[in-house]
Symmetry: D3
Subunit: 291 residues, 6 copies
C-alpha cells in the first residue's frame, strides 16, 4: 500500500513563470520516456514478479518514480502558475492573452486552454499518454533489459531538457532526476546479471543453423564490417540467392484447403480477377487534364 | 533503396486453415513486439545514424525484419485463406459463418469481418499498431540498449506462439523467426559494447551525491537486499525522513510571481475556495438512498 | 513524496486460477473507469491545486487509488498465476495451451501471449490505457463534478464485476473497492458544495437570453416534458423556425477576405467546381454490373 | 431520423481570417470537451435509454450539440478561408506561405498542410479525436452525473476561448455556445434529481464498514480537515498501521494452485531467479565511463 | 442546423436478444468503416466546401449517415436489451452471467461490463473510434475519391454482416443500409466527374520524366505484366541499377552544415562511435547459456 | 524477401539545416497520407491477394513506397542534422538552444527533445502514426478504390509541401515523390477497371427500391440539384414524411424479450426512472450564483 508525505523528494524553486518551458517539461511527465511510464512499467512488473528480491526492488523504484512524477509535475505547475490565474481572471486584453499562449518560444496553448495550466498526461506535442509506451512482457530477463534501456533513455531526455533550461531552480531539480536514472539503471543491471544464464531469454534454444548468421541485406556503397557482423562472431551471408528461402525450400507460402474452401476461393478470385491482357478506360482517363 | 524478390526468406507451408490461430499470430505482425515495430525501429534509427558501421547494420537488420514481416504476414494469410473465401461467397448458412468467427478457440471476428482475412496491423486483441511502440530517441547508447531489449522480447513472444501452435509448418517458420531475434540481439550487443565508454549514456555526468544511492521506498515484510541495493554498490537510504527533500531544502514547490500574476491567482483562489469549516448539503445527500 | 508498504490495503485470497476472469478484472486496472485513471485524475489535479484543503484531499484520495490499483492488479496476477507458469514452461501439449487462452469463458490470449500473465494497462478488450480517459481541466468546480461522476461510474463497474464473479475471495476484495468509491464520491461532493457559489462554473455569466432555454430539436412521437424542460424552469422552443439563427440574423457563416485571399479562393473554387448541369460518365458506370 | 436546414443555429460573422485563432477553436470541435464529444455522448446514451422522458431529452440535446458542432466548425472554416486559397493556389513566395502556417501567434501548420484549412476532428495540439473521451456506461445516475460534469467543462473551455478572442463576431458566437452549456447542465441536473434515490448509484449497497471512512494517506505539513474528511461525516483513519489490510487479514495476495501449476511456477521461478548474494559484473560496468 | 424525429429512417424489429451479434454490429457503429466515420467525413468536408452544389450534397449525405448511425445503433441496443437488465439486476447466478458475456459465439464482455449494453463508439474488437479513420484533406478531387472508396468499403462490411446474421429483422435493416451506400457512391462519382479536369489532382503538374514510369521493384518468380504496367501505358524499369538514383545523381543524402554545426556533429559522432576493429565482450556474453 | 541498396531512389541534397521545415516534412513520413501508410497499405494487401497480377503490382508499389519513406526520411534527417549535434553537445547557451526548437517558423521541439533529430513516425503535429490510417478491407474493388484515393491525397500533400519549401534541393526531391503518386494512381486505376464488373462492389446486389434514391435531408436556402441528385439519375425524396421509415413500417426499434429479460428490464427501468411531474431541487441550485 502507498503512503504520501506532502514534502517532495527534491525541492522545486522556480525562478519565474514560463509556460513555454513548462510545455517542454511535459516530455518527462506525460511523454513516452517520462516518469509515469517509468512508474507504471516497474509497478506492473512488480505485481506479477515471482522473485521476492526483484519484487521488492521493482516496488522501491516504482515508488520513487511516482515521487519523481510529483517533482516534474510540480515544476510544470509552478512554471504555469502565473499564466493560469491571468487566463482564468481575464484581466488582460484578449490579444495579450492570445500571444501569451502561442508565440515565439511558447507552444503552450494546449496546456493553457484545455488543461488550465495543470500538468496533463501529454508530451510536449500534446500527444496523450498511452500504455503502448510500456513494453513489459512478464519475462524477467526481457523486462530487466527493457528497464535498463528505459532508464538510459530517460537520462538523455533529462540531459536535453537541462541543455535548454536557463532557470537555475528547474535545472537543479532536473539534475537530480537525471542522476537518479543513472542509479536505477545500475540496479536493474545488477538484477539482470544476477540471473544466470540470462541469454538467450526464455527456455527454447534457437535453431543453431540460424542463431549466429548475419544476413547482409543492405548492400552497395557503404557496406561495412564490425564486431556485429564479423567472421569471428557470425556466418556472414551476402549472396542474394542464399538469403532467399534459407530453409532450402521453395520460398512460397501455401496452405492445404478443403474442397468447399477451394471452391469458394476460386469463385472469389474469379469474380474479382483483373484481366492482364485488357487496357480498360479508367476513371482517371475520363477526367484527365491536358497539360 | 529497397528491392524485393517474391520468394520469402523462409518457406511457409501451413497444414490447415485456422483463423483462430491466425489471430494469435497477429501479435508478431501488428503487435507491439512484432516485426513492423522492429523494422521501423531500426530503419528510422538508420536514417539519422552518424556512424557508418552502425548505419549499415541497422539497414541490414531493418531490411531483414521487413522480410520477417512478410513471413509472419504470409502465415496469417494462409491460416485465413479458407475462411476468407467462405465468407465472401457466403455459401454456408449464416449461423455457420457466425460460429466460424467467434466460438471456442476462435477470436477472429475482427480479422474476418473488418479485414476480410487479410493480415492487418493490429495485435491479437484488435489494438491498432501505433508508433508509440517505437522508443528510439536518437542517442546510440540508448537506442542500442532499446534494440537489445526489443530483440529479447520478440524472442519470447515467438516462444509463446510456438508453445501454442500444433501446426508443424507454422511451428517451423516460427522457430526460424525466433532464432533470428537471438542473432540480432548479439549484433546489437556487439555494436553497443564497441562504444567506449557507453555508461552512463550522454555527455552530462550525474550528480555524484545521488548517482549510487538506493532509496528503500517500499518497506515492510518482504524487504530484501541483493546486488541491486547492496552496500557494496549503493548507499542504502531507508530512513523515511532522509528520503524526503534529499537536497536538504524544504521539499516544497515555489515560483516567483509578478504582481499581476499574484493578484490574479489570489482572485482565482478566492472565488474557488472550498470552505473548510462548513458542512454544506450536497447533491449526493439530496438523492441519498435509505438502506 | 510516496512511500510503500508491501502489505496491501486489503487482503486478496483468490480461490483458483482463472485467466478468463482475470481478463474481465482488467476493466478496473487499465480500463477507462479503472484505478489508474482515478489515481492520475486526482494526482494531476492536486499538483496544480491552489486551495490547500482540496490539495490535501486530492493527494489522500490519489494515494488511496494507487493502493487500489495494487489490489486489483494483485487480483489479476493471482488469477493468472497458474496459467503463466504453464505457458512459460510449456509442459502441456500445444492444443491444450491454445485452448487455455481462448475458448468458452476465456478471452485471455492477449494477457497470456503478450503480457505473460502480468497485469497490463489495458481494458478487458485489449484497448491500451490512454490519458484521454482523464478529463481534468484545471477548474475546481468542473474537476470536482468530474470526480463525482468518475466515482459513480467506478462504483457501477465494480458492481458489474461482482455480479459475474463466483470466487469468494475476489468478490470480497471487489466489495471493498466498490465501497471506497462511494466514500470518495461523498468527499468530492462535500468539497464541491463547500465552494459557494459553484454554478455556473467560471467567471463569465452566460447570456441571459439563452441560459434558460430548452430547444426541442427532437420531435415526433415520443416528445415528452419533465423538469428538465418544463415551463417552470425553461423557455421551451419547439417552433422549427425559431430554432434557427436564434440571434435573429441570417444564420450564415461569413468572413471578410482580403483582395488576394478573395482572388485565390475564386481561382480555387473555379478550377474545382462540379458542374451542376452536366451528366458525366463516371468510373462506377464504366464498371457497372448488369443484374 | 435527422433532418438539416442550411441555416446555422447562430449566425457566424467573422471579422478577418486568422488560422492561428482557428487552430485554438478546434478545442471545441475535435477536442475532448468539444461538441462532437458532447453530441455523441448524449446520442449514444439515448439509443439505449429505457426512460422515455430522458430518451427524448438526450435526443434533443444531442441534436442541438450537433448543431453547435456546425457552428464552431463554421467559425474554424471562416477563419481559415483566406489562407486556404492562398496555399492551394500558391500565389505567394514559399517563405511567405511557410511563415503563414507557423510563426508568432500561429500554430496552424497541421490544419493547413494536412487538412487544407478544413475543420478536422483534432484538438488545437493536433491530437486526433478518440471515443475514449466519452465516458458513458449505461447507468442513468452515472451518465447524468457525467453529463453534468461534461457541460461544466465545456462551459469553461468556451470561457477561455472568449478570453483570448478579439474578433467580435467569433466572440459573440462563442458566447452563445457557452451559454447553452449552462442551460444543458440545468436540464441534466433536473433529470438526475428526478431519480430517487440516486445515491449511491446502482443496486448493491456498499459495505457499511468502509462507506464513510476517510483514509488520510497523505500526511506531513499541509494536512488539513474540511467537510470532505470531517468527523461529522467520516471516520478519519490516520494511523499508518490501521490503513494497511483494512480487512484485518495478512494484507497479502494469494491463490490456490494445482499441482502442475505449482510445479511449472517453481520451474519458471527457479530458472529466472536473481541471486541475492552475488555481485555480478554487469554490462554497465563493462562500458563504464571514468569521470 | 439539425432537427430530429423520433422515427427511424428504417424500422428495426429484432427477433431476439443476442449480445454476441450486437458486438459484431459495432463494426458499422464505431468501426473504421462505420456510420460515424461516414457522417463526420462528409460533415466536416461540407463545412469548408466552396462549391454550393457539393456543399448541399455533402450535408444531405452526412445527415443521412447520422440517421444510419441511429439505425445501426438501435440494432445494437435491441440485441443487448435483454442482457442489460439481467446484468444490472443480477438475478442470475454469477457463473451464468459470466458465461453470458464470453463463451462460444459471444465476445460481448466489453459491451456488457464497461458500457452496460449501450452502443459504444468501438468496433467489434473494442478499439475506440478515432478520427484517424477520416482521411479528408480539403481538396475536392481527393475527398470525392476518398468518399467513393469509403462507400464501397462500407457496402462490403454490411454484406459480410448480412452473411453472418440469421435474424430476419436485423438482416432486413442491414440490407437497407448496405443499399444506401451503393446509392451514395453513385452521387459522389457524379460529383467527381462533374469536375473537369480532375486528374491529376491539384494544380502542380508532375515531372513528365517520372509520371508514366513503372518501377518493377519486386522481381523473381511471379513477375507479371498487365495494363497497370504495360508498355502501352508506362515506361517499365526493371534494371536494378536504373531504379537507383533516378535523378542521375549520387543517390546520397547531404546537407550543408555551418562550422559550429559541423564541429558539434563531429564531437557527437566521435564520442559515440562503434569501433569496427574491436571484438568487445558483451552483456549477452556475460550471461550466455551453455546449451 | 526484401533487399536494400544504400543508394536512395532519388538524391537528396539539402541546402541548409532547418528543423522547422523538417517538422513539416514529417507529414509525409509519419503522417496519415505519408509513405509508411502507403507502403503498409499495399504490402498488407499484397500478402492476401489472390490475383497474381495484382499481387505483383502491390509488391512493386509497396517496395517503391518504402524507398520513398527512405527519401523523405533522409530529407528530415538532413534538415535536422545541424541542430542535432548542437543540442547533444550543448555548446550554445540554454536560451539559444531553447529558441532553436520553438520560435517563429519553428515547431520542432518534439523532434529535437524527444527524438534527438531523428525522423520519427509522427506527423507535423506530433501525432503518433497509427494503423487506423490504413483502410484496407480485403476486397479488391474496394481496396483499389482506396488506393486510388490515397495516391490522390498524397499527391496534394506533396504539392502543399512544395508550396512552402524554398530549399531547392528539398523541392526537387519532393517533386519526384509527388510525381510518382500520379504514376501509381494510374496503375491502380488500370487494375480496378480491369475487373469487370466492379460496381457495386461485392456479391450481394442492393435492394433496387433504395439503390437509386437521393434523400434530400438538408433543406432550406442553398438546396441545389446536380448530376449527383438529378432526376435523370435518382429518385429525389424531399418530403420529410417520406424520408421517415422508408420501409413503410412504424419507424421504431423493437426486440422480443424473454420473461426474465422483461422482468429485469422493468425492475431496472423502475428503479432508475426520472419522474416527469416532479421539480426536484438540484445540486446546481444548491450552489447557484446570484448574478
Amino acid at each position: 500500500m502507498f503512503a504520501h508525505n506532502k514534502k517532495l523528494q527534491y525541492s522545486v524553486h522556480v525562478e519565474e513563470c514560463n509556460p513555454g518551458l513548462a510545455n517542454l517539461m511535459l516530455e518527462q511527465f506525460g511523454g513516452p520516456q517520462g516518469e509515469l511510464a517509468a512508474a507504471m512499467r516497474y509497478f506492473t512488473q512488480a505485481l506479477a514478479e515471482e522473485d521476492p528480491g526483484r519484487k521488492d526492488m521493482l516496488l522501491d523504484i516504482a515508488t520513487e518514480e511516482l515521487s519523481h512524477l510529483e517533482v516534474i509535475g510540480s515544476i510544470v505547475a509552478m512554471l504555469n502558475r502565473g499564466a493560469k490565474g491571468e487566463l482564468a481572471e481575464a484581466v488582460a486584453a484578449e490579444a495579450d492573452l492570445y500571444r501569451a499562449m502561442q508565440g515565439a518560444g511558447n507552444d503552450s496553448h494546449v496546456t493553457q486552454l484545455l488543461y488550465g495550466g495543470g500538468p496533463a498526461l501529454i508530451n510536449s506535442g500534446g500527444m496523450l499518454w498511452t500504455a503502448g509506451y510500456i513494453d513489459s512482457i512478464g519475462d524477467p530477463t526481457c523486462d530487466l533489459r527493457s528497464n535498463i534501456a528505459a532508464e538510459a533513455r530517460a537520462k538523455i531526455i533529462y540531459e536535453r531538457l537541462i541543455n535548454v533550461t536557463a532557470d537555475a531552480g528547474v535545472k537543479d531539480a532536473l539534475g537530480f532526476l537525471m542522476t537518479r536514472e543513472i542509479s536505477h539503471q545500475q540496479s536493474f543491471e545488477k538484477a539482470l546479471y544476477a540471473i544466470e544464464p540470462n541469454f538467450p531469454p526464455g527456455k527454447l534454444p534457437g535453431n543453431p543453423e540460424f542463431a549466429n548468421v548475419y544476413v547482409n541485406t543492405s548492400q552497395g556503397d557503404g557496406d561495412m564490417r564490425g564486431p556485429w557482423n564479423s567472421d569471428d562472431n557470425f556466418r556472414y551471408v551476402s549472396d542474394r540467392e542464399a538469403q532467399l528461402a534459407m530453409d532450402g525450400g521453395d520460398g512460397k507460402p501455401s496452405v492445404k484447403l478443403g474442397k468447399q474452401q477451394q471452391e469458394c476461393l476460386s469463385a472469389f478470385a474469379g469474380r474479382t480477377a483483373s484481366e492482364t491482357d485488357s487496357n480498360p478506360t479508367t476513371g482517371a482517363e475520363l477526367g484527365k487534364q491536358d497539360y
